[in-house]
């Protein structure tokens, strides 16, 4: 990858004008522009992106988690949360990424204080289930989320399975599941 990213998305200029004292990172790939922000800035930046007259990112189309364990390139953190924004009035897309670095072992479900991000359900109510899925699969927790429970796996599941240090075939959960018979049904 030798070509330099083309950072000419108009949203970058608007962000610079609104937050002149903050330093952001940004990248671009094949027309998709991404702004990389610090976890503490999520709510201020996101509400600006939603409410500014020139931007109006009214629709949060997805929230995804990424695990960069053993990624070939050096990344600012192991985990990332990606927000995919869409402006329905301007027909424009923009991506915001937050990197997180775990401080505790990641093979279980222990709560890591470094893996907390502010929830954006106050800005886009549709973020609720998408953030629950990121929590379920990656163990990234969302502050002030109205109902942060697992959404796909059951509550007692002993891991967050989309983390790269979790084996694809699991650690025996599918083999040791309980057998229901006449006495327990």
């Amino acid at each position: 990858m030798s070509s330099k990213p083309n950072l000419d998305h108009a949203t970058f200029a608007a962000i610079k004008g609104r937050f002149p004292e903050k330093r952001f990172r940004a990248t671009e790939f094949r027309g998709d522009s991404t702004l990389i922000i610090e976890p503490a800035d999520v709510l201020t930046v996101m509400s600006f992106l939603r409410d500014d007259e020139r931007l109006r990112y009214s629709f949060l189309s997805d929230v995804a988690g990424v695990d960069y364990l053993n990624y070939p390139a050096k990344m600012p953190g192991r985990f990332a949360v990606v927000y995919m924004l869409e402006s329905q009035s301007r027909d424009d897309r923009f991506f915001v990424k937050v990197f997180l670095e775990p401080t505790l072992p990641t093979d279980g479900t222990i709560e890591d204080p470094a893996l907390w991000v502010d929830s954006v359900t106050g800005l886009w109510p549709g973020a609720e289930w998408m953030e629950r899925e990121v929590f379920d699969m990656f163990g990234i927790r969302f502050r002030n989320h109205p109902d942060l429970r697992r959404i796909l796996l059951w509550e007692a599941y002993p891991a967050h399975p989309l983390r790269k240090d979790y084996p694809l075939r699991g650690r025996g959960e599918r083999e040791t599941y309980r057998v229901v018979d006449r006495t327990t049904a």
């Binding site: 796909l152 796996l153 059951w154 399975p161 979790y166 084996p167 694809l168 075939r169 699991g170 650690r171 959960e173 599918r174 083999e175 599941y177 309980r178 057998v179 229901v180 018979d181 006449r182 049904a185």
Partner: protein, 186 residues
């Protein structure tokens, strides 16, 4: 026509009660479709007029386990679905039979992940495995007929110490497969 024509003029025949009961049971296998994936589409085709599962008395798809005695597991079973499947099996009326339809229900298929059960026979007794991805309706009908033949011969399903044991039969091709072309041919 049919049975009546075989009767003598007096209009009665003598047989064993066991045979009459087996005859009526084998011709009224009411399926409980547990269709979770594309095998379910083939299962629907099997019940449709082209393949006509009604010829075998198994066309009455019952969506209540209380009214059915043939569980057709069609599709992959996630671990989270497993207690539902087991409970449905427990609620079915005796004598009951299970067909594991397709690669996913029998072995997990291509879904070798933490979330998918690698064969529902780890959790419920399976009588007939129907291979295929998905199996053709003819194969599923052959699976139903295997259970019918077993009921004809034995009547009740095998038990071991009060627990139901699966028959463990597998549908095999009834024809010889022609040599398949390998590689490029010019």
């Amino acid at each position: 026509m049919g049975l009546e024509a075989a009767l003598p003029a007096e209009g009665f025949l003598t047989t064993q009660l066991r045979r009459v009961i087996n005859w009526s049971r084998r011709n009224s296998l009411w399926p409980m479709p547990f269709a979770t994936a594309c095998c379910g589409i083939e299962l629907m085709a099997t019940a449709s007029s082209r393949y006509d599962l009604a010829r075998f008395g198994a066309e009455v798809m019952r969506f209540s386990p209380r009214q059915s005695d043939l569980l057709i597991v069609a599709g992959r079973i996630a671990i989270k679905t497993m207690p539902v499947l087991q409970r449905i099996y427990q609620q079915m009326t005796e004598p009951k039979w299970v067909i594991s339809m397709g690669a996913c229900a029998s072995t997990g298929g291509v879904f070798d992940t933490y979330a998918v059960v690698q064969g529902c026979d780890q959790f419920i007794p399976v009588d007939v495995y129907v291979p295929g991805c998905p199996p053709r309706p003819e194969q599923l009908i052959e699976g139903v007929m295997m259970i019918q033949r077993y009921i004809d011969q034995e009547g009740m399903p095998p038990m071991d110490g009060g627990k139901r044991v699966g028959l463990g039969l597998a549908v095999a091709p009834t024809h010889a497969v022609r040599p398949q072309p390998v590689g490029l041919q010019y």
